[in-house]
Structure formats: C-alpha cells, structure tokens
Amino acid sequence: MPLPLRSGLPLLLAAALLGGCATSEGVRNPSGVPVTEMRPDERGFVAGTGIEAQDMVAVTDRMARSILGIPQISRAATPPSVVLEPVVNNTRFPVNKDIFLTRLRTQLNSKAAGQVSFLDRDLMRTLQRERELKRSGQVTASADPNVVEFGGADYFLTGKLDGMSTRTAAGTSDYVLYSFRLTDARTSRIVWEDSAEIKKQGLEDAAYR
C-alpha cells in the first residue's frame, strides 16, 4: 500500500467516526410532536386499556339515543323530570364519574328538544338558601316564595361501570361493562336499562416488562 494512502486511511476513518457524532440523526421527533386536535371519539396515540374519552363518548351517545326511544319519554304528555344519581365505579380504573352523566344530560338536552327535563339537585343547598332569603324578605321575589316549587323526580337515571382485568406475560386485557338504568321514582320499577361493553388488550414494550 502506498504510504500516503496507508497513513491517510486511519485519518479518514477517524474523521468519519468523529463526523458521525455531530448530528442528531436517528433521534425521532427531537423537537417534539405538534399538538394535534382530535375528535373526542377518535383513538389518540396515547392509549391504554382503561376507560378513555372515546369510550365515554361512544357509550353516552348510545345511551342518549336509547333513552329517547322509550315510550315513557317519547310519548309522555308532559316532559318527565329526571334526577341524575352518581355512577358507581366497580372497575380498576379511577374515573371522573360525573363526566358520564354530564355528557349524557347534555346529549339528552340537545337531542330531546324538551322531551325530558333534569332537576338540578347539585344546587339544592344554594336554591334553598335563596328561597330562605326570599321568604325573609332580604331579597326580592317574582313569585310567592312560600309556595313549594322545587320539582320532584319522576325518574332517577344512574349507571354502573363493571370491569374484569387480566394480566399475563402475553399482555393486559380489560373488559368494561357500562350499564345505565332509568328507575320510576313512584313505583321503583326500572323502566329502561341498556349497556355497552368494551374490551381492550395490549402488550407493552419489552423495556417495561
């Protein structure tokens, strides 16, 4: 091998080795991923086997359609009054339970167009205090405050989330049953009940197993 080439080869090699270091090539998304706006019923790139936004949207949409189809609501002479009772979570996933009923209520209110009315029991304390202020004459009243006008419930709407989970070397599997029911406040009869079920499974990266 000629001398210049013999002495130059390692130099070139060294330069190539060092040169390869001055780059961030191979690093995926070094500057991050732009914020992506998604539909709430769309599966995002951050996912688990738990209860997610798209599940909540799908379930409440289905329940709202189902409730509006029953004769007690669709053929009622006067819009029945419904009180929402907290959902019971019997899964392994801590969830914001109110969000189910809030979305169900907003769906029903927007789709039912007055077919059903909801009683705001969350505000009862505030409403009672206001009524007392009116009765004592501390604030003005547009109607006789001594007449009881707080509405009584015709129906109670509530739900329950039940789950079953499995974890093995093959992965994680979660089944969640979402059930909702409408109970007649006078007779205690369940006049409507429906459910939806979602099962998910996956296996995490080996780096976390």
Partner: protein
Amino acid sequence: MRPTVRPRAARGVAGLSLPLFALLTAAAGLPGCATAPDEPRAAVRGEAGVPERDRVLHACRAAATALRTGDYPGAKARLDDALARLGGLILDDAAAARARSLFAAEDTKVFLGEPYERVMAYYYRGILYWRDGEPDNARACFRSGQFNDAGAQDERFSSDYVLLEYLEGLATAKLQGDGTDALARARALAGERFRLPDYSPGANVLIFAEYGYGPRKVAAGRYGEQLRFQVQDSPSRSARLVLHEGRTVVPLPAYDDLGFQATTRGGRVMDHILGRKAVFKAATDAAADVALAGSVIAADQAHRREQRGKDGGGSEAAAVGLGVLGVLGKVVSSATRPEADIRQWDNLPQRLSFAAVRLPPGEHAGRLEFLDREGRVLAARTRPVFLRVAPGDRDTVLFFSELPR
C-alpha cells in the same frame, strides 16, 4: 549495494506512528460524542424543569412529600399526573426502543418504576380518593395497584399485597356490596402472620400508617447490568395510635413490606436484554484486546524488519489493520450500555399499615408510637398526633408517616 532504507513513517506524539496516533485521537474524541440533542423537559409543580423521561419519578416523589406534609391537593395533582402515564401502555416508543438498543442505557426510557413503585402511586391515590368521599374510585386504585403486581415470576408473589385486597373489600362493604371475597383473599395472603380484623360497618375513621425506609435499587454485575434491591430493615416493626390518655389504643401492624414486594418479583424481560448487552460488551472488549495485542506484535515485527533493512510494509499494514479493529472494538465495547435503570422513588416507606375504628366526631389528641420487634416502644420515634373526626356519613381518613418527607 546498500539496501534502500525507506524514510520512516511520520511519527506522532511519543513515537507513535501517525496512523495509530490518528486512531487514538479518534478514540479519545468519541466519548465526547455522547451528548444527545436537548431532552424535552417537563414542568413539574414546585421544581425546575425535569427531563420528560423522569416526569413520573419527580411527580411521585413530590406526591409522597405533599401527602406527608398535608398538602393533599398537591399530592392529588402530582399523582394524577403520574397515573396518567402509569395507566397507559407504552408501545412503539422511541425512548423504549433506544433503552433496548446496545448503545443506550436503560435509564433513557421514560420512568414508570418497578411494580412496587407503581403500586404505591395507586395506593396513595386511593387514600386520597377515599378522603374525598369516593370509595369506589379508591377501590379502583387499590385494584389497579394489585393488578400492577400481577405477573411475578413466581405465581405465589403475584398480586400479593394483603392491604390492597383488604381495602378493596372494605370499600365494597362501605358501598353496600359484599366484601367477604376480598377479605377472604386478604386473609389467605396474610396466612398465619397475623389475623386481619373483620370489617366494621360502624367504623368512621380510616387510619393509614407507614414506617421505615423502602427498598433501594442497586446495579450489580460486572457492568451494572443486574437490577438488585437493598432492604435496610427498619427497627419500627409495628405502630399504634394511643388516644384519650391511653384509654383507646389502635394497633397498626405492618400488613405489607415493600422490601419483600420488591425482592420477590423475579426477573424482568428487560433483564434478559441487559444480560445480552453485557455479553456483547464483554465479547467486543475481549476481541479488541486480542486485535490490539496482535497489532503490537505486528508493529514490533515491522520495526525489527526495518532495523534489519528489510521491507516491513506487510507487517506494518497488518499492525494498522489490527489496530483499527482493536480500537473500533474498544469503541463499540465502551459505547455499549448494559447498565440497569436504578432511578428510584426514593422516599417510599418500608411497611404499610391500616386500621378502621369508630370515634365520635370532634377533636382527639394522642400519640403515635412505633414498636420494635419485641413490641417495645421506640420512645425517640413517638410523636404527638391531633386529629379531627368529621361529623356525618363521610369517613375521616387519616394518614401518618414515620418518614419526614
């Protein structure tokens, strides 16, 4: 005729030939390449920006501190932040793939902790849910905690937290359900070690206590490729709450030991990956040693031939070639990163305890005592406590920790 003596190759520092000098320079320069582009940093409340991959770790540590200092909203916010990550499945993740690769250490992945650490995040969040009057969400957390402990190598140590099972049943009983199955499972897990009390429907005060320092992660093996746990057994073996000048004594035995939990999980899939990395590192290092030794011998041979006036070109080329291979081998070996991830949630307790009692609403003063193995009070650890039991149906949830922060 005098043999033609070729001019010797240009000499570098300390008599090294220029090619070898260049290679050594490159090898010396390579470690400087270990810098990566700026890591994404996360804003964690109360802390300067932390690497995004350590976000869960910092959130968990801060949550434990917040819980012990009575900053319950702060603890909730941090645990929710951590659980948003812990609850998902990490798939097709660049950092995780890098952590599995030869040339990146395991701690380049997003920290999700070992099972006992994940369990504790759920356990603490469960306590806070219960404190907020949501026993069903608390139960969900205890279930998730137990779920995170599933899949141990030895099935006997899978989902074996006594307290999580007991609390799941208690929450179910509080929700008018049947908690007897969970109680039976908890008792089976406890075995002969202690007798778990029946659920008391009238109990309105839930006391969670913890004592001792939790396990420590250490890296063992030639290259630190083995994840191991050190457990320094705390002298506090149990505790008790003494109220009303000694008229009420609430035992707080240790139902679970995180040291036991950490050391009974068995191997991880990642341990096999790290083991393979270590084998590769050792093999390339050994091959490089052989190549460099061969290079020295060939260089010496070339030198002798030149001194004898013979052409040493062939030997010199061999020396350079073996030198290149040797240096590359050393570079590859030193760039291989089999070290186990020893980032750890370092303010966890060792022992977890619980009691449910009935106390009249109002204020109660007393002391929390820690007991040694023989049941003697560790007087220096005794601390006064003051608690307020709320009226109404909602349970009063109290949390006591021997750890300061």
